[in-house]
């Protein structure tokens, strides 16, 4: 590795990695003459990129903020190099300036770079890494480009898999700040963690005899942040512990995870010294044509970050997913629920069934039915009058009268003929809108009720040409009133598509706010490359058009997006 030294002098972040790869390439060539192998292994380089550009018209109707640069652009390029057991990668990101709806600062840089060595016993990464312990209840580092979310760690991650049936993980590092587009301004807190998981079948040697898998795991995470508070004694090392168990076989799965966080006064929990607890339980039964899943979660004061004063989506250490169905139809995403880390008790049940084909109910191709029910309440809190620093007390099953979210959902999918397919969804939602205006989760009762109906049909006109249409309606008595939506999409497989869709807030109680969110889009796809262009006004959220689902911010203007994997 000595011939790399002249390459490592700093001449700017970009020059470093260009030089690194060039040297790797040159060294590979130099070895050619000394070893004369039959087949030269230069490794392989792959990657991906995406550039989203948007122009912003002033839109006083939907209240767009002033955007003096007129055009925004978010882009990234990932490069990934592998050679045998070694891999390395880099990601360059540019926000010039940042698209509306994303929190990153304007600028560009390299927020992600790593080197990794892996064999069948050891896996070590230096630099940036993503990792999850169990279901993420005390630690999860991940990214979602479309949402502008990336809480990548920067440090070291080691995984040991030498003993059969046992996986040990250790991590240490700092976290990426949501505003930063390079490796500067990382979290003030230093995070350390370890996780162990054991597959009992392998460790105790009864794999061959039992079809049911049993695994147990435990994790610990600790965050160190200096205490500079002049009045209070704040804990500098805040630890969280979790234990989990999982039993599964061909027809049945069961998962349980419990977590405990020691006192962690933070901005989000109003600086109380109360410890946090979390419990998640899930059970499922399935056989061909039928799947049933029931889960329950109780969270009490489990917001956990790498800095005490961090808020919103910044510097989160754990992942507490909402106990609600993840939707992709536009009007079904009008009332998205977010887990209240300060306290909630939720329940979700789901059944999916395929009525067999060639029966009277199922029809020639069978009919799919999916039913989902979610119900989430806040916890009943009793203010701790003897020690206000401890905040409040709760009982295990005690819930407040106020409902946070409730959804009943039925979806039916049917193929009518070789040319015609359709699906229909009906859902009834109760949503507590005041919840999402408060940081701390203290609430008022402002419940929104909405009944949403959706029809999605596609007709294959010719072998390569399909017309798809969606009709959606959300009957809402309060909030912004009722909405209607229509979408038409025409695809010329495998390369072209054109689509137009409109969401119309016709029921808005203010006449001038009864606006159309109309967008026209067209795209060209070739292998793994995609170019789309569109024009119009779009509400933020998931959009499934042109064959992919993407998260988009609110906008009004021209949009262009280029992406690919190579």
């Amino acid at each position: 590795m000595k011939n790399y030294n002249h390459c490592l002098q700093k001449s700017g972040a970009i020059s470093i990695f260009v030089a690194f790869f060039f040297c790797l390439f040159l060294t590979g060539r130099a070895q050619d003459t000394t070893l004369i192998p039959d087949k030269l292994d230069l490794g392989s380089l792959s990657g991906s990129f995406q550039v989203d550009a948007q122009n912003y018209f002033q839109d006083s109707l939907i209240g767009t903020p002033n955007f003096p640069q007129k055009i925004g652009m978010n882009g990234f390029m990932n490069l990934y190099y592998t050679r045998g057991n070694f891999s390395a990668g880099v990601r360059y990101e540019a926000y010039l300036p940042t698209l509306q709806g994303f929190v990153r600062n304007t600028g560009s840089g390299i927020p992600y770079r790593f080197a990794r060595y892996r064999n069948d016993k050891l896996d070590i990464t230096l630099g940036n890494f993503y990792e999850q312990f169990g279901s993420g209840m005390i630690f999860r580092s991940y990214e979602a480009w479309g949402l502008g979310f990336d809480n990548v760690m920067d440090g070291a991650s080691v995984k040991l898999t030498g003993l059969k049936g046992v996986v040990l993980k250790g991590i240490i590092g700092r976290q990426r700040n949501a505003f930063s587009n390079n490796t500067e301004n990382q979290s003030e807190g230093l995070v350390r963690g370890a996780d162990g998981e054991v597959l009992l079948n392998d460790l105790l040697g009864f794999s061959k005899y039992v079809g049911t898998q049993m695994r147990i795991g435990a994790s610990v995470v600790s965050r160190y942040q200096k205490d500079t508070d002049p009045v209070y004694v704040l804990p500098e090392n805040v630890a969280a512990f979790a234990g989990r168990a999982q039993v599964s076989n061909q027809h049945f799965n069961f998962y349980a995870e419990g977590a405990y966080k020691i006192n962690d006064p933070s901005t989000v929990n109003n600086r109380i010294y109360k410890p946090g607890t979390g419990l998640f339980v899930q059970g499922g039964y399935f056989e061909k044509g039928l799947g049933i899943s029931i889960s329950a979660k109780r969270i009490d004061n489990m917001d956990y970050r790498s800095e005490r004063s961090a808020t919103f989506n910044n510097l989160m250490l754990n992942f507490l997913p909402p106990m609600t169905k993840q939707h992709s139809y536009r009007l079904a995403t009008l009332f998205p629920y977010a887990t209240q880390a300060n306290g909630e008790l939720g329940f979700q049940g789901e059944v999916s069934y395929k009525i067999p084909k060639k029966t009277s109910l199922g029809g020639k191709y069978g009919t799919g039915i999916a039913f989902n029910y979610s119900n989430i309440h806040g916890l009943e809190r009793t203010h701790n009058t003897s020690d206000s620093l401890m905040g409040y007390t709760t009982t295990f099953f005690g819930v407040s009268d106020h409902i946070y979210y409730e959804e009943i959902n039925l979806e039916i999918t049917k193929t009518f003929s070789k040319k015609f397919k359709g699906s229909m969804m009906l859902m009834n939602v109760t949503y507590n809108k005041d919840l999402f205006k408060q940081l701390t989760g203290f609430f008022t009762t402002s419940e929104v009720h909405s009944f949403i109906s959706i029809v999605d049909m596609s007709y294959k006109i010719k072998p390569k040409q399909t017309l798809r249409t969606e009709l959606q309606h959300a009957y809402t008595k309060n909030e912004f009133g009722s909405w209607a939506m229509a979408l038409v999409e025409y695809t010329f497989a495998p390369h072209w598509f054109i689509a137009a869709f409109d969401e119309y807030n016709y029921g808005n109680y203010k006449d001038e706010l009864q606006i159309h969110y109309f967008t026209g889009q067209a795209g060209f796809l070739w292998e793994s490359f995609r170019v789309t262009a569109g024009y119009g006004r779009q509400r933020a959220g998931v959009i499934c058009v042109g064959g992919v689902c993407r998260n988009v911010p609110a906008s009004n203007g021209f949009q262009v997006s280029v992406s690919g994997t190579f």
Partner: protein, 179 residues
Amino acid sequence: MLISKSITIQMQKLFLTLSSLLLLFLSGQAQNSDKPKLPSVNVKNLKGQIVTTSKFGNDGNPFVINFWATWCKPCVLELNTINEVYDDWKEETKVKIIAISIDDARNSAKVAPFVNGKSWDYEVYIDENGDLKRALNVTNVPHTFLFNGKGELVWQHNAYSPGDEDELLAQIRKISPKK
């Protein structure tokens, strides 16, 4: 063609970087005729067992890796459509389809009931924190990769529109063993 004087330094750097890397990539391709292979990453099967992707294979026959998610309508449509003709495909080309769900902890426990509820016949794995997704540079789902009998990547495709499954079959036929 107008080139504005106000192209920022960052834009120039980006352009320089992209072009030099493109050259590097192209020259790399000219030197090394090996097609990339499936990277070695851990994923979980529906029973929760950890499986290493280097063990994926189809006894010398082609296999497809398809990234999907329970909330991705085009993904579910694609896998439903192919499921109807999967037996014919297997008989003709001996192809195996491996469906990798990128559902995270919000939905990962529901993947097994979901897949059974749809009566899919695929080998399904869960890539809960996106490790395989990142290693294969997947940006949006659905994303389909076709590997030949030697485990080399020969074709990939992003997005699904009705009719795309015909192109996938055509690509599989090109590399499958002749009867």
